[in-house]
Every structure is written in structure tokens, then in C-alpha cells.
Amino acid sequence: MEFNIVRQDSYSRGELLLRTFFGALYIAAPHVIVLMFIGIWANIVHFIAWWAILFTGRYPESFFEFNVKLLSWNMRLNASLNNLVDGYPAIGLSGSHPGVSLRVTQPESLSRAKLLLRTFLGIFYVTIPHGICLYGRLIATGFLQMLSWWSILFTGNIPESWFEFNVGTLRWTVRLNLYMTNMTDVYPPFSGKRNPS
């Protein structure tokens, strides 16, 4: 899995203020309304994919592509709402953003045993430990987002380490999402780094 957001040389103060005061109206609202309906479809797709993996040991290719596109869309929206990129995030599964990239390689086969393990015990060995760590990290991310907001307003930029930390949080959630939706058998690392050792 490769997820990255390119740090811009400078950020627009005008867009920052526009997003802050009207972002909920012109970015979040239209995206969330569409995503809500697509989310119902995504639930159906996950459910059917679960059975497909159980019987064939493989995630159906077209469903996998759909999920990657949906995840990519979510990340575009998140990156924009968290002031990590400028520009309006494209609505739709086929949309893209020059600064946000997500590439997921489909595994040739998935383990049925791991599928059942994740389904019935995933809450204990994935959700709870990752949830606790991510909760702490999200508080730090929120704090850094607030500082980044002032940084963009005064300097037109975000310090690289803050930016990387916030992108890392999104990367962590992507890895967790991929694992819990049975798109990979690789246990997500407790890290937001691009290549955790």
C-alpha cells in the first residue's frame, strides 16, 4: 500500500479561510451526501466480498477496485478538510487530486483462516489496540492541525514534521481500513510512517 500527500511549497491563505468558514457547506455537505449513499453500496460490497473470499480465497477484482477508489475519494476529502492540500476535492469515484495518491496492490489470494479470525476476533487484536493508539494520535493530530492553521495564515506554509505526522495519521487509518475490510492479510503496523521497519 502506498499512500502519500505531496506537501505544497506554499498554501493559499484565501482558500484556508474559505475552507474554515464555509468548508462545511461547499466541501463537506455535497461530499457527505453522496458518500452516504455510496456507503450503503460499499457495505453490500464488503458483505458480498466476505463470502467471495470464504469460497474462492480471492477478493473480486472489480469490488477491490471500487473500494480503492472509494478510499481514495475519502482521503482526498480528508486531505482537503484538514488543510493538507489546496483545491477542491473531486466528487466521484473516478476523480483524482494531483497531490493525493493511493495505490493498493491486490493480493493474488487471501487466507480464509485469517478472514474468519478477523471477523470474529478482530475487535480484540485489531480494533482495540489500534483504537487506543489512534485515539491518542488523533488528539495530537488535532492539536497540530490547529497549529498548522495558524502557521499557514502567518507564513503560508506547514512545517514539514507536522505535515508528515498528520499525513501519517491518515496513512495509519488507510492501512487499518484495508485490513479490516479484508483487502489485505498484512497486519497494519502501529505507525504512520511510509515504510515502517
Binding site: 453490500i44 460490497v45 464488503h46 458483505f47 458480498i48 467471495a52 469460497f55 474462492t56 477484482e61 472489480s62
Partner: protein, 166 residues
């Protein structure tokens, strides 16, 4: 002169087509996935899936159409039963008619039969094969292959044949 349409054999169907065709029958259980106990949700999911896939290969479109159309009778039976229950027990607050429970038994039987047939068709589709449902199989075949469809010559095994009568 109309060009003959090749009826694909399992070895000619790609893995992706097999998966997409298989998923068409799994859409019959979509309501469980969405967590909404609506008798018509499976039909809506199948219709959406058919609309997404109808321009893909004939093999996938055929299975999607068959899975969608074959749901119509059971959906109508379920909706009628649910409607009768809501009408008498909730709106009118009157005892249910004597025929209600035999009707429920009939509906359960039809649903079980349909689920079993769908699973069988799903397994065959995953292998690249075609199973024809009663009535709806012929309808889907006529829509996507028609009388000009022929099994490809030269294939060692040809398990996919037109339905009887075509």
C-alpha cells in the same frame, strides 16, 4: 446476414468475468449486508449491479440480468406478505386472515428454493459456466445471446450450451 455470437466456454471466460458473474447472485443477499430488512432491497441492489455491468461482457451481463429478473417473483411474494401483515396487524389492527400463515409457509418455501437455486447458479458462474433458471434463464439468454449464439467450435469441452429449444 446476422453474425453468429460465440457462446463462451469456461476456459474462455476471464477470472474477473467469473467473479463479476458470481457476485451477481450474491447480490440476492444484499439486504443482509446493508443491515436493512427490506424485502425489495435485494432487488434494488441487483438492479444497480445489473446497470453497472450491463455494458461489460455478455457473460457478465447475462448473469446479472438473470439474477435480477429471477428475483421478481420472490420479491413480489415477500412484499405481498409484508404488506398483508402491515395492513391487518398494524394499520387496521384486526386479526390476520386465515390464509396468512399458509401464505407465509409458501413464501418461506419459495425463498428457500430461490436461495438454493441462486447458490447453485453462483457456484457455476464462478467456474465460468451457465445455469439457466426456469423462464428467466431463457429470457436472459434471448436478450444477450439469442438464436444466433453458438458454442465455439474447437473447444475440447463445451458445457455451456443454449437452453433447450434455442
Amino acid at each position: 446476414m446476422t453474425q453468429p455470437i460465440a457462446l463462451p466456454q469456461p476456459s474462455e471466460v476471464t477470472k474477473r468475468e467469473k467473479e463479476d458473474a458470481m457476485a451477481a447472485y450474491l447480490m440476492n443477499f444484499a439486504a443482509w449486508g446493508a443491515g436493512l430488512p427490506l424485502p425489495s432491497l435485494n432487488l434494488i441492489a441487483s438492479a444497480i449491479y445489473y446497470l453497472i455491468n450491463r455494458k461489460k461482457s455478455r457473460f457478465v451481463a447475462f448473469h446479472c440480468f438473470q439474477a435480477f429478473s429471477s428475483q421478481l417473483p420472490t420479491t413480489l411474494i415477500n412484499m405481498f406478505g409484508a404488506g398483508m401483515f402491515i395492513d391487518f396487524a398494524i394499520i387496521l389492527q384486526r386479526p390476520l386472515p386465515k390464509l396468512f400463515w399458509p401464505y407465509v409457509g409458501f413464501a418461506v418455501l419459495m425463498n428457500l428454493l430461490y436461495v438454493a437455486t441462486s447458490i447453485y447458479a453462483c457456484v457455476l458462474a464462478a467456474k465460468g459456466r451457465i445455469y439457466y433458471f426456469l423462464v428467466f434463464g431463457r429470457w436472459a439468454y434471448a436478450k444477450y445471446y439469442g438464436p444466433n449464439a453458438v458454442p465455439l467450435e474447437g473447444a475440447a469441452e463445451r458445457p455451456n450450451l443454449p437452453p433447450p429449444g434455442f
